[in-house]
Symmetry: C2
Subunit: 150 residues, 2 copies
């Protein structure tokens, strides 16, 4: 019942891009360094995000990546789905073409998985990259406040 590092690293990378939104292309190398992720591995993850239309790339020297849309228009759920596949605590309730088993008609457990799935989706789709940036800003201010009194 865990997400893999794909989702973790991918979200961190997207958050990194969100915090630098509007400042031109951000190199993979710099994201990997800040987020402490293997460069080659992150390359694969960001390729998936690119194909999903979540990031744009600029090739060549001084190139890099940037968000394809504004931070407030990218939901965490989209990022996770792109990297981890459709939300599905159980195959039979996958958001995308669930394969129903033959006992599905009367399957009581399936209702539980559906509720789990929906509650996960709800959380992930309620948060945008902008929300995360705002949260980070709040955190920074809190720290400044404490600094002042120390």
């Amino acid at each position: 019942m865990k997400l893999s590092t794909k989702g973790e690293y991918g979200l961190r990378a997207m958050f990194d891009l969100a915090q630098r939104y509007g400042t031109g292309p951000v190199s993979l190398k710099s994201i990997a360094a800040r987020q402490e992720i293997s460069e080659h591995y992150l390359e694969q993850l960001i390729a998936v995000l690119r194909k999903a239309g979540l990031v744009k790339s600029v090739r060549g020297a001084q190139g890099g990546y940037m968000l394809a849309r504004e931070p407030e228009e990218i939901k965490v759920g989209e990022i996770i789905r792109a990297l981890e596949g459709p939300i599905a605590p159980m195959e039979c309730v996958s958001e995308e073409d669930p394969e129903e088993c033959h006992r599905s008609e009367s399957c009581i457990t399936r209702k539980i998985w559906r509720r789990v799935r929906d509650s996960i989706s709800e959380v992930l789709d309620a948060i945008t990259l902008q929300d995360m940036c705002d949260e980070a800003e709040k955190e920074r201010q809190k720290n400044d406040y404490y600094m002042y009194y120390i």
Copy 2:
């Protein structure tokens, strides 16, 4: 982001036992047959459930398994946790001794995983085996109703 078959099979087996609660020991063989699960494999899962104090066993001929408590006192969450481990969409927010990474102080993504974790727990802990039995009964009545008019 999937549960393994452990959680799936385990819950189905426990639901099977709940539906037969109060009727004496239920053999593993019969559970496996009804739920279409490999007998040997289910054996391992039910051993875990026994060690977690969720089922009791009776050895020998006519022996079998039964719920250790009443169906309304066993939450789905307990079963899932016994078989799949603590709810933890991410290691750093595991219900049981999460291992925090060094970036934890300012980790914005962690808040998201916490919310995901809590929403999963909430769903799973709100449902008992009795709830599932009631649901099954409702389903049966619905079918009877339709039967009457056909």
